[in-house]
């Protein structure tokens, strides 16, 4: 029987969320290869956009892929190369970060970055009806980060919530720890922290604990790391909630792409996985103890 080759190109696991996304992609590929012998997968991880373009070129030149599942490192640089894949006749699935030209992909499985920021912002608004002072940790300077922060700002607009400062914690525990330490030195009064990511939330919590100010403020991370969900479920007063941005969207996208080849199910279209607020009430549903993230 003819084998179908599906190429999967995703950014390398350089921070927690990406690690989770990598994990889901890898396990899904292994599972699908075992289930469907007629499917062959090529998985490549890239540390920068140029490397990702290389990977995609290699898949075309040497692996004759029939489908590409790609989570673009950045939108613009990947648009033309992915378009070339499409033009070669292959199926294209795009995850999370849309390409800068419409209509290239057959299937789009996306997170919602502005929505992630907006949902987070709405939670702050809800928790701080009378306003308050917060600090914000941002991710690696990228469009994603900008979209999230813009969404967040839009949500808290006019709520009386004052953002004391924003710094980049680069979705990194250590950087977030350092930044938060300095925020704590600088601001005697902080009511809450938008860490915007669970890795950074861990760094922030470390700094707060060290300063002995854990009781003064609460922290909202994001992306649904299992330890954080656990704390939400346990009713931790510092970690009141979380906002999803499921790294498992890579699994969803790969699985749907595979379905296109092994079944007759219609899979093309656009699937936006909205960011959902997780609170103590619904936390159990989002707790996957086996995930590395």
């Amino acid at each position: 029987a003819d084998t179908t080759v599906i190429g999967v190109s995703i950014p390398a696991a350089t921070h927690g969320w990406a690690g989770g996304m990598n994990f889901h992609a890898k396990t899904t590929v292994e599972r699908l290869e075992a289930t469907y012998p007629e499917l062959d997968f090529v998985l490549a991880t890239a540390s920068d956009p140029a490397k990702q373009v290389n990977d995609i070129e290699d898949m075309m030149a040497t692996r004759n892929i029939d489908a590409l599942v790609v989570l673009p490192f950045e939108s613009e640089p990947l648009t033309a190369p992915v378009k070339r894949v499409k033009e070669s006749g292959a199926w294209v699935t795009v995850i999370d970060r849309g390409l800068s030209e419409d209509g290239i992909e057959d299937l789009y499985v996306a997170g919602d970055n502005p929505g992630f920021g907006y949902t987070s912002g709405m939670f702050f608004k809800e928790m701080m009806p009378d306003g308050g002072k917060i600090v914000v940790l941002r991710g690696i300077p990228t469009t994603i980060d900008n979209e999230r922060v813009d969404g967040f700002k839009a949500a808290i607009e006019g709520s009386g919530i004052e953002i004391l400062a924003m710094e980049h914690g680069n979705w990194n525990r250590d950087d977030a720890f350092t930044v938060m330490q300095d925020f704590l030195s600088k601001y005697p009064e902080i009511d809450a922290v938008w860490a915007s990511d669970d890795d950074m939330a861990i760094g922030v919590l470390g700094a707060m604990k060290e300063a002995g100010r854990t009781d003064e403020m609460w922290v909202l991370g994001g992306a649904g790391m299992k330890e954080m969900i656990k704390r939400v479920a346990d009713g931790d007063p510092t970690i009141k909630a979380n906002v999803t941005y499921p790294p498992s969207m890579s699994a969803t996208a790969i699985e749907m792409t595979a379905l296109n080849f092994v079944s007759n199910a219609p899979v093309s279209g656009k699937f936006v996985i909205g960011s959902v607020l997780i609170t103590q009430e619904n936390a159990e549903k989002f707790y996957y103890p086996d995930s590395p993230f």
Binding site: A50, R63, P77, D145
Partner: protein
């Protein structure tokens, strides 16, 4: 075992001895492995891909060979690429209202890229030669500065070239002459000129002399500071040239553009047999080094033998092995 007194690395480079052959053997081994793993490896399309994407690192590595031969180092080339590409794109986008989406705009952009490269190289070189600061520190500082400037220019995001201008510009990366892509042609020309400059011009000799013993060079009427400054300027121009070819490939620049290219460039130079401590360099070796590095990535994509997580480990092992192959020299550091 008490070894010989001469700290004889790279025995002069005239003889084709095992050391010279080392990197070539490594390259051949990689090609054979690639072919065995997947016969498509030698398909002209794959070769074209590998060569043209190696061109960026390759062009810069030729310039880096001179810098290192003259006893210097440049850690800023990767982020300099990002910075130059960013400025080029902003300038070109800015000119569209005045000049339209024409080749004219692109030519201006290219000119800006090359000049900016020269200026950035000159800045590095002046700080190093006139202020007497160590190259490592100057270029490390500039690396951080350029990267930060790109982030700032892009407002944390991506600086994108106007789409229709991009389509005009694209052939500069994807097009070519007689079926050979431009980046490959440019890389080849730069490499040949570099090899000639290194071996057959006074400039190349002066670089080696400075790297071998600065005092001696000075006493021999070599204008040490100018020669060294020039190595950084030439490298800067080549970084500009690499950017000119890079922009049409991805049509954008961001703070992840050119990440770690400096280390890849330096690694290519050293794998090729140039001495990191200066005094001896070979451009053809650098070309081999660039190809070795380019092929490793490509070969790892040919198969799924190893977890992609371990790609790095394999790269690291091959980098070290390529140099072990030429280790006959008793290196001092």
């Amino acid at each position: 075992m008490a070894e010989t007194t001469t700290n004889a690395p790279g025995k002069g480079g005239f003889k084709f001895d095992i050391q010279a052959l080392g990197p070539i053997l490594a390259l051949i081994a990689l090609v054979v492995i690639g072919y065995l793993l997947n016969p498509d490896f030698l398909a002209s399309k794959n070769i074209t891909n590998v060569l043209s994407r190696s061109a960026f690192i390759g062009i810069m590595a030729v310039g880096m060979t001179f810098v290192i031969t003259a006893g210097g180092l440049d850690l800023s080339v990767g982020s300099m690429t990002a910075f130059i590409a960013g400025i080029m794109i902003m300038v070109m986008n800015g000119l569209i209202p005045a000049l339209g989406t024409t080749w004219g705009v692109i030519l201006v952009g290219m000119g800006v890229g090359l000049m900016l490269g020269a200026a950035a190289g000159a800045l590095n070189g002046i700080l190093i030669t006139r202020m007497g600061i160590e190259a490592f520190i100057v270029t490390l500082g500039m690396m951080v500065i350029f990267r930060s400037l790109v982030t700032w220019m892009a407002d944390g995001g991506t600086i994108s070239l106007n789409f229709s201008l991009g389509s005009i510009y694209e052939p500069v990366y994807y097009g070519g002459l007689f079926g050979i892509r431009w980046p490959i042609i440019v890389f080849a020309v730069v490499a040949v000129l570099g090899e000639i400059a290194m071996r057959h011009t006074a400039y190349g000799r002066h670089c080696a002399a400075i790297g071998s013993n600065e005092q001696v060079a000075r006493y021999s009427a070599v204008h040490v500071k100018n020669v060294r400054l020039m190595t950084y300027i030439v490298l800067g121009v080549l970084v500009g040239l690499a950017s000119v070819l890079y922009v049409p490939r991805l049509g954008s620049a961001s703070n992840s553009t050119g990440l770690l290219w400096e280390l890849e460039t330096i690694a290519a130079v050293i794998i090729g047999g140039t001495l990191l401590s200066g005094g001896y360099g070979r451009v053809w070796g650098t070309v081999v080094g660039v190809l070795i590095l380019g092929l490793i990535d490509n070969i790892l994509n040919l198969t799924d033998l190893v977890s992609p997580y371990l790609n790095g480990a394999i790269q690291g092992v091959i980098i070290i092995l390529a140099v072990v192959l030429q280790r006959a020299r008793t290196s001092s550091r």
